[in-house]
Symmetry: C2
Subunit: 143 residues, 2 copies
């Protein structure tokens, strides 16, 4: 039931350094329990919480915001609207990221397909000399 920092590092993929760092930064709902010798003992709940933090992080939430969220949870009930606000705005942020990424993917896929055509053509004979229509400044190498 109680996990050492090393075990938690293994399970979460965070380094032990990062785990201590996150704790110092106030990202854990409660300051991790300690054994008599001072060593950290993590519960499954701690690991779940960390997993959530990792999801937040990987979707671009800054540590600062995770800390604010953590504080709200730590304060207990009464601020659910604030938590909801924070979550919704992160939701919006993710949605915006998704749209940007999809657009980026569209653009790069287009570039890839142009290069593929060129390369396919070039496999037969090396007749083309620049990436015109894919690279801006390389275009026609002129005014």
């Amino acid at each position: 039931m109680g996990l050492s920092i090393g075990q938690v590092a293994e399970r979460t993929g965070l380094s032990v350094h990062a785990l201590r760092f996150y704790e110092r930064e106030g990202l854990l709902a409660d300051p991790v329990r300690r054994e008599s010798n001072g060593r950290r003992v993590y519960s499954e709940d701690d690991v779940d919480w960390l997993a959530m933090c990792i999801k937040f992080r990987s979707s671009g939430m800054p540590l600062d915001t995770i800390r604010r969220y953590t504080e709200l949870v730590r304060q207990g009930s009464g601020n659910e609207l604030d938590r909801l606000d924070l979550l919704r705005s992160h939701q919006d942020y993710i949605t915006a990221q998704l749209e940007d990424l999809q657009e980026s993917l569209r653009v790069i896929t287009h570039k890839v397909s142009i290069y593929e055509e060129h390369v396919a053509a070039g496999t037969a004979s090396c007749l083309w000399t620049d990436a015109s229509s894919t690279e801006g400044p390389a275009r026609a190498s002129s005014a």
Copy 2:
């Protein structure tokens, strides 16, 4: 036809600092032309190239990789397969990001909906006291 650094900053959304920085970092296909007085003169092609760099950046390509790509383009024809490689691997990277983000969105949307239920219930009467089933360590506040 020739744009000042300030105009390019306006058009691209990059700061003039960032524009000079990108140039120093070798992210521009050719070192920007200068007026007699040393001031930069950007062409539309430069702006197009910058727009592409911005797309690369915003989809998580490090400056380092953009520089490598730029170098390939600068070298001229003959390395199209290398460019294609680089582009394809970034394409894969974006795809992976999209999947991660979608998963994150799923998780956070679930949390949001749980909070919404709680808050809706609480609007009538403040009967619930914690975020159990949404927050790990806050759960039942016990062993």
